[in-house]
Symmetry: C2
Subunit: 254 residues, 2 copies
């Protein structure tokens, strides 16, 4: 028996998110079917990030255990021939059986993209949020700085997902804004993210960028620990999971 | 009667190119239907660039004549509500009736994008060509320099489209390569382009980037005036029409 780690990229447009569920097509289901077709055995996959409907990933980390003799690094090619074009394995390798993609210290990076121009651009509509209002990126950048550090991010957690026994404290290592060719990219790196956290932060930054709220309000929203103080949840197509790192494992598995 | 100029952006993925034709869905057909629905009159559109199946546009220039009283600048909003998400009017304005988007001196800019990495990226597959072979971008850049200037580009014209009475001389003002996040962008600006010219140039640059041909061969290919000397026609999804300018009209219409 061995454990294999996959780096999986996908275009979330046509999927009801990562996690397998009845009556909806998910990335995990399609991947499981490709694995079972390849290995002729029942396979259980564990994904590091359970991305939502419509959210994209450059590098979700997935593991599964198999009896197959195929070397770990051969799975990427074998699976890609069995997967649709909107899901592509980026790499595969054998990892120690103790490696768990979710119950391990991680550093995750997400990007939220906002196309800020007068009219939508059809060639960029699937991977960004279109925003007609001219956004003040300096105000957004200033607001994003308040996110950095260890904070209780309860204000940025989807209200339907609250479990009082789970901590809502997370550490954000960086939160930056770049602008190129009318595209604003908000990039955030942290020790973990609550359900809908990046999209609620993006929705709040949009209100700040539009001038509805001043940048300093970000500090107050964090302190309030109240979802109703933050902005709306920004739509999913602007969000992409860019990177997941496992600092304590990197010497072993990278 | 007035003439209205539209700047039209589209994602070419789901269209059989710009030009109306029987038994295939084209951008022009969808636009004409939206115009006729809006104006309740028969409309004839003229597009500056008859982009091919699968090719994208940020800014095709289209004109039509109408009896409607609607001010020229109102057409963009009225049409966008009637168009699918993969076609979007970027601006509209009234222009003098002598303005013809094709029989007027133009400066056109195209981009051809090549994603050069080990595995395809699903979120970039629709707007670039994926290339597994590591490309020598310095060689490609050097080769591209030979394109600049006035040349007979017969070697880069699709062999099915040859009319001995039409000149194949064109002027290329610039041909540059940039690389960012594993994406190679070849950007070319010229007085006009022969049928498939940018895609044949891109196919030739790919052979040079792979080391199949040396960069200097570009000069020989131009001089040969023979389609068989150039590389293959690169696939359409990497190509986007980025800009069309009308130098002699810019004072009047911009």
């Amino acid at each position: 028996m061995k454990r294999v780690k996959l780096i999986v990229a996908y275009d979330g447009t046509n999927y009801s998110g990562w996690q397998i569920q009845p009556n909806a097509l998910t990335v995990q289901q399609v991947l499981n079917e490709a694995l079972e077709d390849l290995l002729k055995e029942k396979v259980t996959t564990i994904g590091a990030s359970r991305t939502d409907t419509g959210v994209h990933a450059r590098c979700n980390v997935v593991v599964f255990d198999t009896e197959a003799r195929m070397p770990g690094n051969k799975f990427s090619y074998a699976l890609n021939t069995r997967l649709p074009e909107d899901i592509r394995i980026q790499s595969s390798e054998e990892v120690p059986p103790e490696f768990h993609p979710r119950f391990t210290e991680t550093v995750k990076t997400y990007e939220y993209k906002i196309l800020n121009r007068r009219f939508p651009d059809p060639t960029r509509r699937l991977y960004s949020l279109f925003c007609y209002y001219r956004l003040d990126t300096e105000a957004m950048r200033k607001a994003a700085e308040y996110l950095v550090g260890e904070h209780d991010f309860r204000s940025f957690q989807a209200s339907g997902d609250i479990d009082p026994n789970r901590s809502t404290v997370r550490t954000i290592y960086s939160a930056d804004l770049t602008v190129e060719d009318e595209m604003i990219t908000f990039r955030i790196t942290g020790s973990g993210f609550l359900y809908h956290m990046v999209r609620i932060i993006a929705g709040t930054l949009l209100e700040i960028g539009r001038g509805v709220l001043p940048p300093e309000v970000m500090k107050d929203i964090i302190e309030a620990k109240d979802r109703s103080k933050a902005g709306p949840t920004a739509p999913p197509q602007g969000l992409t999971l860019m990177e997941i790192r496992y600092p304590e494992w990197e010497k072993d598995i990278d």
